[in-house]
């Protein structure tokens, strides 16, 4: 008797798992053989399946009001509810700008940049490494070696700054 109650209890759990389609074949056949013997559990399965169907077919309620328009109105009326923006764009842009100018200075791109970033000679090993890198890129792109990196980095920084400015202007209210 005790074993039978235990089995029914298990079967109820298994029926639910069956509805969730998470039963292994072995467990499924165990359940099937229990259902053959147990009318109460058959009834439970029947009820659960009916509930399942009923819940799937539950009608979607209708609303008369235009919720989208109402929310849009609130958004327009309260410009302070704008999406909060994170300042990553401008930080990255600033970083790139500094890197670009630094690199330009390293190459002696302009006298003033050089003086700003590298008041002393950076040393021959660094200069040599930069030269190797530069020659490779120059061969690939056909640009003046000393122009490649500063130009690219400045362009990237400019893009990001421009994007950020556009964002701030449009969301500034």
């Amino acid at each position: 008797m005790a074993q039978s109650i235990m089995l029914c209890h298990q079967a109820t759990e298994r029926i639910q798992e069956y509805l969730e389609q998470s039963l292994t074949d072995q467990k499924k056949s165990d359940l099937a053989s229990h259902l053959l013997d147990c009318a109460a559990c058959r009834k439970t399965l029947d009820d659960m399946q009916q509930l399942h169907q009923l819940a799937i077919q539950q009608p979607i309620p209708q609303t008369d009001s235009d919720l989208v328009a109402q929310v849009m109105e609130k958004i327009q009326m309260h410009p302070e509810t704008l999406p909060q923006r994170q300042p990553h764009g401008s930080l990255v842009a600033l970083l790139l700008l500094v890197l670009g100018l630094g690199y330009a200075g390293l190459l002696g791109w302009h006298q003033w940049v050089s003086r700003l970033f590298f008041p002393v000679n950076p040393g021959s090993w660094l200069q040599r490494a930069v030269n190797i890198l530069d020659d490779q890129t120059a061969q690939l792109t056909g640009m003046q070696p000393s122009w490649i990196w500063p130009v690219l980095l400045l362009l990237l920084a400019l893009t990001l700054l421009w994007n950020h400015r556009t964002l701030s202007r449009n969301s500034g209210g």
Binding site: D47, Q50, A55, R169
Partner: protein
């Protein structure tokens, strides 16, 4: 070079607009909203209005409350939009917002009116409930409103969008095992309450 200049200085970037697919996605709409195009948010809301409203309705059982919560949900989502991460999908994200709003709403309601069962009282007198709803569906909706709030939420999410337990666990940010327990208990309770409809007595 011309293309690069256009990319840097032109607001409507030609190579983004020429691609057809991205204009359809939620992520694209969200990017437009974050760039200041508020109307893109209206499009996004239209896509998810039904989902959000239905969750709210199933949780509250009242049209007015569901409408209020839907509005609140979209406003919150709007202010928090920059925190949205594309990889998680807008559907689950907005489902999580409305779910939490509903749970808070129910808790607050319980604190304010501990003795009365407001949602159930209003259910039978609400004239805007669809007339074609048959008795059994009515009984199910009533029985759902009698469930504890978290059981109710799990049951709603399970049948509304056909989410499985793993997806519900992600939306509610609780373990999958807990979702299963809630769902199984909800089903058992509903079965008990609807039994007399099926077996008469």
């Amino acid at each position: 070079m011309d293309g690069i200049i256009k990319y840097v200085f032109h607001r409507e970037r030609p190579f983004v607009l020429n691609r057809k697919q991205p204009t359809e996605t939620d992520a694209w709409l969200i990017r437009r909203v974050l760039k200041g195009e508020r109307n893109a948010y209206a499009l996004l809301m239209k896509r998810y209005q039904k989902l959000v409203y239905t969750i709210a309705y199933r949780m509250t059982g009242r049209v007015e409350d569901a409408e209020d919560l839907t509005q609140e949900c979209f406003l919150r989502a709007y202010t928090a939009l920059s925190r949205f991460r594309t990889e998680q999908g807008f559907g689950p994200w907005i489902s999580r917002i409305i779910s939490n709003l509903c749970l808070n709403w129910i808790d607050k309601k319980k604190r304010e009116l501990p003795a009365t069962d407001d949602a159930l009282d209003n259910l039978s007198v609400d004239p805007r409930r669809s007339v074609e709803t048959n008795e059994l569906q009515m009984a199910l909706q009533e029985a759902i409103l009698r469930l504890p709030s978290r059981h109710r939420l799990v049951f709603t999410l399970r049948y509304l969008e056909g989410h499985d337990c793993r997806q519900i666990a992600q939306i509610m940010e609780i373990p999958e095992g807990t979702v299963k327990t809630y769902l199984f208990r909800a089903r058992q309770k509903l079965q008990k309450q609807l039994r007399h409809f099926w077996h008469g007595g």
